[in-house]
Symmetry: C2
Subunit: 322 residues, 2 copies
């Protein structure tokens, strides 16, 4: 999908001035927005950023919201009440809203100045998944507002990511099954990582393990691991460590060294080994989570087979009142 | 301690212009900064904000850092290598640095343009703890730069918080012991909360439970709970829920309603019941985490007695290389 029309309109309305971009959603959709927020925190000079779970955004609306603010909202089903309410609140504050959903009849679209109704299910083309679309929107807005020196590298990366993922998924086909056999009876996993991928550290914990498999999980940033969390490490506790390519790799490798010494149940998912390295150094880190998401889907699928617990099974979500 | 001199100097250098304030630390010190970041996200019109674990800040330095940026760093012992490195990197980028520590000879002070060497251990005066000092700095900078309509209410709140906490600690003396007796054998806790207190939701998990008691823990935002994490809820899994006073109370109360129905092992720590209500509505929410920290110290102390595991015991921190 081409985001350039939306980018042109947003930037035109802002007259090329600095602004803020807010990323607002719940659960898995919020996870998908993390890397775009991380990108702006690192690269932007004139564009501020904020990453919000929708209900907190509704209750604690930023006072600086104004007609130059951009609020990006995402709801896969399109009718998540908190996200729809957040879009409404954002519009009422005068901000420009961009809504992403898979549902052409989504309630979210009522409050979206611009919309991207994405397709879903084609695992061979991740460029049209919400994570990649939101990142593309964000990078393109930054480029239009203040120029982004690595913009061409980013575009080339987007062209390469599908084939990288295709190879990576084949590469992990055997090891994900081994992982599931080895750790299928565990009751708790720590998921570790950093930087652009911390969203998926959190996302694998809350969506793939807790929601889809009813397995306890805790997300830990590898930069924080040595300031408390590492004290629970022992040879019985299982860890899944996402090792990024790019600037925060040093943090992940430090955690790996420690786990090599003091833990035994450790699964390493390493973007370098999985072939991300053909993307330019200037932008490689922003593609880690796109790769990790696809690869981690293989892990959760393998777990679901061993658990005999389909990924779609819920006991509360959509079944009881809350 | 009086932060006004530092505020005057910082604002003078910035000529009253908008800027960003970055909060940079590790573990427990990072936890203490969360509410100040939350405050700016909500209240500021001209001041941007960012909250960073120090090693990620060092490796992914924001490009917008400049001589008008303010970087607040905190290290209790004063020599946390990542935090000292972050202060050095911030200074090299031209930013103004404010260092907080308990150690007059801290390495952090070498790279701090301004410093606050705080006292520690006087539980009857939390106003001089780093959390309150950093919040006070932040609120006062905002007031000086763009005016903050509830500034007087905030100052009154600061005068009241010590006596509120004194009463609350007495109030929980019996229940913390009961809690520890009831849940002393549990291997995992979920800690839930939102808004200004999410830092302490995370902090109680990684510092009090994981680091100090070697108990597994996972922090969950009550706004996110219904978008994945609630699927692990059952009558065997223990939850500690922090219920805020203020705007995000609705999120916490929603989680409480669900836990009342589907869980059995639930400990509620409610700021309203603990007497926070004498602080003005305009600022009450920002005092939740100051109250919760003191009260949660009573909970962890009670756990340590039942576990016969002193809060100071470590197996890795400061004992092995990492």
């Amino acid at each position: 999908m081409d985001v350039s029309k939306i980018v042109d309109q947003v930037v035109k309305k802002n007259e090329g001035e600095g602004t803020e971009i807010y990323f607002v959603a719940c659960g898995g959709s919020l996870v998908d927005m993390y890397v775009a927020d991380y990108f702006l925190k690192s690269e932007a000079k004139k564009i501020g950023t904020g990453w919000y779970t929708a209900n907190e955004f509704v209750h604690v609306l930023p006072k600086r919201l104004n007609e130059k603010s951009v609020v990006i909202l995402c709801s896969h089903g399109g009718d998540t009440p908190e996200t729809v309410a957040a879009a409404k609140a954002a519009k009422e504050s005068g901000a420009q809203t961009i809504g992403l959903t898979h549902n052409t009849k989504a309630g979210l679209l009522k409050y979206s100045d611009y919309s991207l109704v994405y397709e879903w299910g084609d695992e061979t083309n991740v460029k049209n998944n919400p994570m990649a679309l939101i990142l593309d929107l964000t990078v393109s807005i930054l480029n239009a507002v203040e120029g982004y020196s690595a913009y061409n590298d980013f575009r080339t990366g987007m062209e390469r990511i599908n084939s990288i993922i295709e190879k990576a998924r084949k590469l992990v086909a055997v090891r994900t099954k081994k992982f599931a056999e080895k750790y299928g009876q565990e009751k708790l996993f720590y998921v570790l990582g950093s930087g652009p991928s911390f969203g998926h550290v959190y996302g694998f914990s809350i969506c793939s393990l807790m929601e889809m498999q009813w397995i306890n999980a805790s997300a830990v940033h590898t930069g924080e691991y040595f300031h408390g969390p590492f004290e629970v490490t022992d040879k019985e506790t299982p860890y899944i460590l996402l090792v990024n390519e790019g600037r925060t790799r040093a943090l992940d490798e430090r955690a790996k060294l420690f786990l090599d010494e003091y833990a035994e149940k450790v699964e390493i998912v390493d973007a370098k080994e999985l072939g991300l390295g053909t993307i330019e150094d200037s932008v490689i880190e922003f593609f880690n989570p796109i790769l990790f998401y696809s690869v981690l889907c293989e892990y959760r699928e393998a777990l679901s087979v061993v658990h005999e617990h389909p990924l779609e099974t819920r006991r509360y979500m959509g079944k009881v009142n809350y």
